[in-house]
Every structure is written in structure tokens, then in C-alpha cells.
Assembly symmetry: C2
Homo-oligomer: 232 residues x 2
């Protein structure tokens, strides 16, 4: 299970493999070729070994992709300005940093899963929880609220970002939205009264704004839940 950590702990060959090295190379391949493009054969070739060698450091492809996605999640902490402000703005900044990190590595979005078990996912939930704990909310609600926020961040990011991994290779985002808008327009207005009038919004929408709209609703709900006390 644990296998090697650390890089060539002394006396190892200079070009020794390690889980870090493998995950790093996997991220690069995933960025370039997507999840289907990542292959143990190809990855092994890049690292100048045989496919079997990789299995000494990761137990299978699922674990490898999960580790790679957690690596991407880690980028968010580098971008996040960190605390120093009130809980509300801290949560918002953190959420946006996660969205942006996943936005740059779309294949990762659908692989950040709950409850967290990997290093950076754990860090994320802990940070959210600590911010929530600095709120007017009663202590017994901290965990459920922190979890709800964490689920929103990763779940909604995945909803918005993951579809890109399917289409982007073949059609551009704009072309996809335009085609979808045309399909909505062609629907029967009696069956779909809302969608048939909403197509211009679909064409114009910015993904990041979609994410923050719901986020602000959720964080706004926090104020309500906490009662009329200092802003969260």
C-alpha cells in the first residue's frame, strides 16, 4: 500500500522512480491528452521504464488519476490569498481558487471526491471548516455547513468544467453552446416554457459567473442561518 515516498532516499539511482515523479508526469499527460490519452505504456515510455515498474509505486490507474487530481487541487492553495479577512470573503476566495485550478486542468474536476482522503482534499475541508468555525453559526452546525460548502465547491465546479473534457477535443465551447441554444430554440414552447426563452442567456454566460452566482447564494444563506449577527 504505502510503497516508496521521497525521492531516492540516499544511495538510490539518480533516475529512480517515485510516486511524485509518476504523478507529475501523469498530470502532464492528462493535460495534453486527457484521461483516455493517459496510458501506462505511454507514461512508462516518458519515464523510460516498462509499464510494470509503475505498479510498484501506484496500485492502479484509478489511484494514479486520483493522486493527479489531488495534485491539481493543491494548486488552489498557492493561488489563494489566505486568511486575514472575514470568513465570508475567505471562503469565497478559496472557492474561486479551487474553481480556477480545476478550470486549468479539466480532467481533474470529476475526480475530486468526497469525503476527502487525499492530502490536498483534506487541507481544503479543514480550511473551510476553520473559516466556518469563525462564524456566528452554532458549533454543532460547523461540520455539516463546512461539508455543504465543500461539496458545492467541488461538485458544482465538476458540473461546469467536466463537460469540456468531452467536447473540447472535437468542438469549441462556443460552437457547443451555440448548437445547444439552437436545440433549445427548437423545443416546443408549451413543454419547455422556460428554456425556449432562455437561449440568449445560455450563449452569453460565463462559466465562472455561474459558479459564483450559486456560491453567493449559498454564502448568503449562511447569514440567514446564523441570525442577525456580525457578517460571516
Amino acid at each position: 500500500m504505502q510503497r516508496t515516498r521521497g525521492r531516492a532516499p540516499t544511495g538510490g539511482r539518480a533516475d529512480a522512480l517515485s510516486q511524485e515523479l509518476i504523478v507529475e508526469a501523469a498530470v502532464a499527460l492528462l493535460d495534453e491528452l486527457g484521461e483516455r490519452g493517459l496510458t501506462f505504456r505511454l507514461l512508462a515510455k516518458q519515464l523510460k521504464t516498462g509499464p510494470g515498474a509503475l505498479y510498484w509505486h501506484v496500485s492502479n490507474k484509478d489511484e494514479l488519476v486520483a493522486l493527479a487530481a489531488d495534485q491539481v487541487l493543491g494548486h488552489a492553495f498557492a493561488a489563494d490569498p489566505g486568511s486575514g479577512e472575514d470568513a465570508g470573503s475567505g471562503l469565497r476566495a478559496l472557492a474561486v481558487a479551487v474553481f480556477d485550478a480545476l478550470d486549468r486542468h479539466p480532467w481533474a474536476a470529476s475526480h475530486v471526491s468526497a469525503p476527502p482522503t487525499l492530502a490536498n482534499a483534506l487541507r481544503l475541508l479543514d480550511r473551510i471548516g476553520t473559516l466556518v468555525a469563525g462564524t456566528a453559526l452554532p458549533a454543532e452546525r460547523h461540520f455539516e455547513v463546512a461539508t455543504a460548502i465543500s461539496y458545492y465547491i467541488t461538485g458544482v465546479s465538476a458540473q461546469i468544467i467536466a463537460p469540456r473534457t468531452v467536447h473540447d477535443a472535437t468542438v469549441s465551447r462556443d460552437a457547443f453552446l451555440a448548437r445547444t441554444a439552437r436545440r433549445w430554440e427548437a423545443l416546443d414552447a408549451a413543454d419547455y416554457p422556460f428554456l425556449t426563452r432562455a437561449t440568449e442567456h445560455l450563449r452569453d454566460h460565463a462559466d465562472r459567473d455561474q459558479f459564483t452566482t450559486g456560491l453567493d447564494l449559498l454564502l448568503g444563506g449562511l447569514n440567514t442561518a446564523a441570525g442577525p449577527r456580525p457578517p460571516v
Copy 2:
């Protein structure tokens, strides 16, 4: 693209294939064996044909799974009591119906993707939009708010439900939570001040409550956003 619809439009053989038949059989196999267990060879055998025949009705496995997931989403409408109440309770009932439908078919959770293009996903967003339109919110915000709610429902459901498809075959949910709780306890309290104290909440938590906690926060935020008018 379009291929056959409808079942044996007259003069067809009684046992003729159709997309509906294929999707129905796929749902059954997905329920039983999960996404990896669904195989064109196996599916063809169940339907007493060769694998090639399926490609006349669906273009590939991705499309088949997407259609199967949309089928599952359709179950939610059967369960939903429907309108007759205010927007807030209507949205809540619809959201919970979707969660429960996905809960019964966990493999589907990660395949409901946005923006909607398939029949039931379209219906869902239209229904949410219609409910939101019956709110005090200004009209120009209807689309973004409806989308935000829709993203919450499918995205957070997927976060909560999808992990089960990975573990359930090997370990039970309780065993997984217990193991995760133990890992959290073993973390350094200085690095993870929140998580190390939260493990009992993790063990006790009910998935469905996690979903509704965030949902109520989000819907509560709607009241704030709409100003002090009649409840949404």
C-alpha cells in the same frame, strides 16, 4: 445520428432492437455490475444479438451511458409530487426527488452533465426555471439562479453518491467511513485543527441530510437575494 426511434414501427420483427430497448437493458446491467461491468458484448448477449448491432442505435458507449443516466433522471419526475405549493417547497421536493433517483442508481450520478441536452435533463432545468420565475427575484436573474440550483442538485448529488460506485463493491459504506474517520484522527491536530475534532460527525452523517443542508442554505439565500418580500 438520429437512427431508429419508436418500437418496431409496423412490419418490423417482434424482437427488433430499438434505442429504448438497448438503454433499458443497459440500465439493468449498470445497476447490477456498474459502469465497468457494462460491456457491448454482454449487452448484446442479453439482447440476443451481436455487438455490432448496437452501434446502429447508439453511436458509442459514452452516448449509451449518458442516455441511461438521463433515463434515471426521469424517475425523479415520477416521484416528485409536482407543483401546487410555493416555489421554495416545489424546488426542495424536486431536488430531493432527483437525489433519491440517483441514489438508487449510483453509476448515473456522475453522468448527468450540464448544460442539459437530453430529454429529462432539459425537463428538469425547465421545471426549476419555471419555479424560480414564480419568485420575487427580478426576471433578469431567473436564468442564472435556475442554473445555479440545477448545478447544485446534480453536482452535489454526484459528489455524495458517486464515491459509492468505487467502494461499494469491495467495502461497505460504514467500513469506509470508519476507516476514513480513523485516518482523520491520526492527522496532526496542528495541521488539521478542524478535521481531527470532526470525526464523530463523519461517522454519524447521513448522506441525504448533507444534501439538504446545503440545499436549504442555497434556497435560504434566495430569500435574501429577493429582498423582504413573500417567501420564495
